[in-house]
């Protein structure tokens, strides 16, 4: 078997085990929270009778282990179940929301990844000179800004001072592609600002690291232009660390943007998860947790594979 294929198979198998462990941990975590779904739903208006009725209806009186294995059996047969709180089909709800999450993440990625690479290369080319300082200064400033502050700032600037975009970024089925793009413009801007610096700094550092090598000196001596040296000789050898940081940020764009979702009222997975954690709606929390863990594990496998493919030494191990 080809070593890369073997590695992928190994990683996927390990990933599945990890997912199982994650589901158990999430279950335990939610169980450990004070109060149960019935209490969370009824809140201040809970009476003992109503609590008992609701628990009975939602099957909360079953022992925890029974509920967990019942859920696990469902998942293995492709049935995520229904939400305890409003009885909607979880797979369907997640499907739509995951689509929105991925749409927002891809929009942000399509802009931020190339931009970060280009800026990183420019910063490396002019290391220590003013373009480097300007780029580093600006991106460090944007990453230092908490997301919600950046969000409020762009809301103010682009909906009040210059009314170009709308502050509430909800997207609905049936919206055209361009109107969807228009709707998510503000969260995309915020996310780009947040993830740009990390990727750009890593690109710059990785390239500068390679620039110390002897073969770069050779390239310089044979009279190549600096930007050509970076593009043809330094960058290909700096890909591995850059890819792992890029993937880390992509994973963040999928699973970690709940604050941005809330501020812009964007109907994606993060908000959906938080609502259901508040109500202790275990089947939904489990399902979303699984999706998030899956995305994380999947992207990490991808990063490893790319790092290996990009590195001949790892590609052909002795």
């Amino acid at each position: 078997m080809h070593p890369v294929l073997k590695l992928v198979v190994q990683r996927v198998a390990l990933g599945l085990l990890l997912l199982l462990a994650v589901s158990a941990v999430i279950f335990l975590g939610v169980e450990a929270l004070p109060g149960d779904t019935a209490q969370a739903i009824l809140g201040q208006s809970a009476t003992p009778v109503a609590l008992e009725n609701l628990r009975e209806k939602m099957g909360l009186n079953e022992p925890a282990l029974t509920r967990y294995f019942h859920w696990l059996g469902g998942v293995l047969t492709g049935d995520l179940g229904t939400s305890l709180t409003n009885g909607t089909d979880i797979a369907q709800a997640i499907g739509q929301r995951l689509g929105n999450t991925l749409f927002l993440a891809s929009c942000a990625a399509v802009i931020s990844v190339p931009l970060a690479l280009v800026l990183g290369i420019i910063a490396a080319r002019y290391a220590g000179r003013w373009p480097d300082k300007v780029i580093s200064g600006l991106t460090l400033a944007t990453i230092s800004l908490p997301e919600f502050v950046a969000a409020y700032f762009v809301i103010y600037l682009l909906t009040q001072v210059f009314p170009i975009f709308q502050p509430v970024a909800m997207v609905f089925p049936g919206m055209g592609f361009w109107s969807k793009l228009h709707a998510v413009a503000l969260p995309v801007i915020v996310l780009v600002l947040v993830v740009l610096a990390h990727m750009m700094r890593m690109t710059r550092a990785a390239i500068l690291n390679v620039m110390q090598s002897a073969y770069i000196e050779t390239a310089e001596l044979k009279g190549l232009r600096p930007i050509q040296i970076i593009w043809r000789h330094a960058f290909p050898n700096a890909i591995a660390p850059i890819v792992s940081v890029v993937v880390l940020n992509l994973a963040y764009l999928v699973v970690g943007v709940v604050v941005v979702e809330v501020v812009f009222g964007y109907n994606a997975l993060g908000q959906y998860l938080v609502d259901h954690v508040t109500k202790r709606d275990l089947p939904v929390v489990q399902a979303v947790g699984l999706v998030f863990a899956g995305v994380y594990i999947g992207l990490n496998i991808l990063a490893d594979v790319i790092a290996i493919v990009a590195n001949p030494r790892l590609r052909h191990p002795k």
Partner: protein, 528 residues
């Protein structure tokens, strides 16, 4: 004065000032009613409703866990949603009267025990079926079912027998209740085909708008119910609720015109919003209130002198100014204010009095150990700040009050109704009887102060069946005074509804029954 008049005329022209408000303001300025009316008629084409368009509301208080089942409605978005597609037997008007809807007439036996509701002819559900007395009975049955977990269970459980007779619904109560129609105006009780037994979450009712798209926690789209029985309601072709829980985004959406109205304007920014040319801030006195509750059966709160010391040791005006930003009014330690029918405004307002509080504290013989008040940020907006202000003013009177910060998570389970002294809130009810019965009757499920007073209970039962309003008012006044002087309730403030409305919205009026015109702003307003 002419400047002021001009401003008001402009506002009337834009439709942001109702005839009622315009008349009240101008006559207060000394303009005669006749002239004011003529002025208004000249400018206010806006007062004639315009049909068509799409009205959008940006609403705080929706989650992706919400359902269309009215029995489960509890937070603002579901409540407003129910009020848009649902139609109750009757509505409560802003001045405390009844507006008959699905029922055309309500009458009772002299002891207020047997009620007859005549069902209006030709009211149609969204699915084309005609509303019958059987549907009404089925709806009430569904909410009285112990298994339904309906939020209206407490309201309808006093109905012993219900039956449909032709076009009439006859309800027999376990004991007389002269307020029954008010209770049946509750937002949970929209009439549904076969009571919603077939599919509780289908969202079919007889209201002015029917649900087109429902995405929990995101938005609800409604279209006009073509065969709605009342042409004076439901002006836009389509209305939408967008769930915007974030304060800043909600305000920005209003200012940029993405939505036409929002609820829960943050008191901190209401002044700033007033400066915006396209937006008006509407402030309506409501019945909701923020409270600190003591369990009167637990030490040290079983001592009325100590309770009195704490009641005198709170600075209510400071709370209204600092916690509500002035958008509210002082409470008087009973849960009723002028927004309720039959309110007695002669009961003296309790003031902050450090000296008297110190005297009562000394008289109580308390050992001087810290008195713990528990509060969480979610107990009510500004709860922790309010608790700290309370502690500061009480400490100044020599009362060793200490605030213990609790997490929001699990607050209503682990602290409220469990710990003897904590912060909480009430949303107010349709009538005084309902408020007292919910939380202050000895046997109440939610008696969160553990207040048990025979005289109070007897007055409450007597007032409930009383059809003579003067007597009823006297009973309520006496109850208020008992609760004020002996209860475990410290009620520093009633909060106003503060809402933002764009100028292109016409037909707005104030309604103390609930936020956004008691949840009806989308169906009562129009686009000018």
């Amino acid at each position: 004065m002419t400047d002021l008049l001009d401003t008001m005329l402009t506002r009337a022209r834009k439709g942001v000032m109702s005839r009622r408000e315009f008349m009240a303001r101008t006559t207060a300025m000394g303009v005669s009613a006749g002239i004011a009316s003529a002025l208004y008629g000249k400018v206010a084409r806006a007062d004639e409703p315009k049909k068509g368009g799409v009205i959008r509301g940006g609403i705080y208080g929706g989650e992706s866990t919400n359902s269309l089942d009215p029995a489960l409605a509890a937070s603002p978005v579901p409540v407003i949603t129910c009020s848009t597609w649902g139609e109750m037997l009757c509505d409560v008007t802003p001045d405390g009267g009844l507006d008959m809807r699905v029922a055309e007439e309500a009458s009772s036996s002299p002891d207020a025990k047997v009620w007859t509701f005549k069902i209006r002819q030709g009211v149609e559900f969204h699915n084309g079926k005609t509303v019958t007395a059987e549907d009404v009975v089925a709806t009430l049955k569904r909410h009285t079912d112990e298994k339904s977990q309906s939020g209206a269970l407490g309201i309808v459980q006093g109905i012993a027998e219900m039956k449909a007779e032709g076009d009439k619904v006859v309800l027999t109560l376990t004991s007389g209740n002269s307020d029954l129609p008010y209770l049946l105006a509750d937002y949970h009780l929209g009439i549904q085909p076969n009571g919603g037994f077939d599919n509780p979450t289908e969202g079919i009712g007889a209201g002015p708008y029917k649900v087109e798209t429902f995405e929990p926690g995101v938005r609800t789209v409604f279209t006009k119910h073509a065969n709605y029985f009342d042409s004076s309601v439901g002006h836009a072709d389509q209305v939408e609720i967008l769930v915007i829980n974030d304060n800043t985004a909600r305000t920005a959406a209003l200012q940029s015109g993405q939505v036409h109205m929002i609820n829960r304007v943050d008191p901190k920014i209401s002044e700033l919003l007033k400066g915006s040319p396209d937006v008006a801030v509407k402030q309506t006195a409501g019945r909701g209130h923020f409270v600190f509750i003591m369990h009167v059966d637990k030490a040290p709160f079983d001592n009325n002198d100590l309770r009195m010391a704490l009641k005198l040791g709170i600075n209510r005006q400071e709370m209204v100014d600092k916690i509500l930003g002035g958008l509210g009014s002082r409470g008087n330690d009973f849960p009723i204010n002028a927004a309720y029918p039959l309110f007695d405004d002669t009961i003296p307002q309790r003031e902050y009095d450090a000296a008297a509080a110190a005297d009562y504290y000394k008289k109580s013989g308390h050992d001087g150990s810290p008195i713990i008040l528990r509060a969480a940020p979610g107990a009510f907006p500004g709860a922790v700040d309010a608790a700290n202000l309370f502690a500061a003013s009480a400490n100044a009177a020599g009362i060793p009050l200490q605030v213990k910060l609790e997490p929001d998570d699990g607050y209503w389970t682990n602290v409220w109704n469990v710990e003897p002294f904590c912060a909480s809130y009430w949303g107010g009810r349709a009538v005084q009887d309902q408020m007292y019965t919910t939380a202050y009757l000895s046997t109440a499920d939610w008696n969160d102060t553990k207040f048990k007073n025979m005289a109070f209970d007897e007055l409450l039962i007597a007032a409930r069946a009383e059809l003579d309003l003067a007597k009823k008012k006297a009973d309520y006044s006496q109850m208020a005074q008992i609760l004020r002087d002996e209860g475990g309730l410290i009620l520093p403030m009633f909060n106003d509804f503060v809402e933002g409305v764009r100028n292109e919205i016409g037909g707005w009026y104030d309604d103390p029954n609930g936020e956004l015109i008691n949840g009806r702003a989308l169906s009562r307003c129009w686009l000018t």
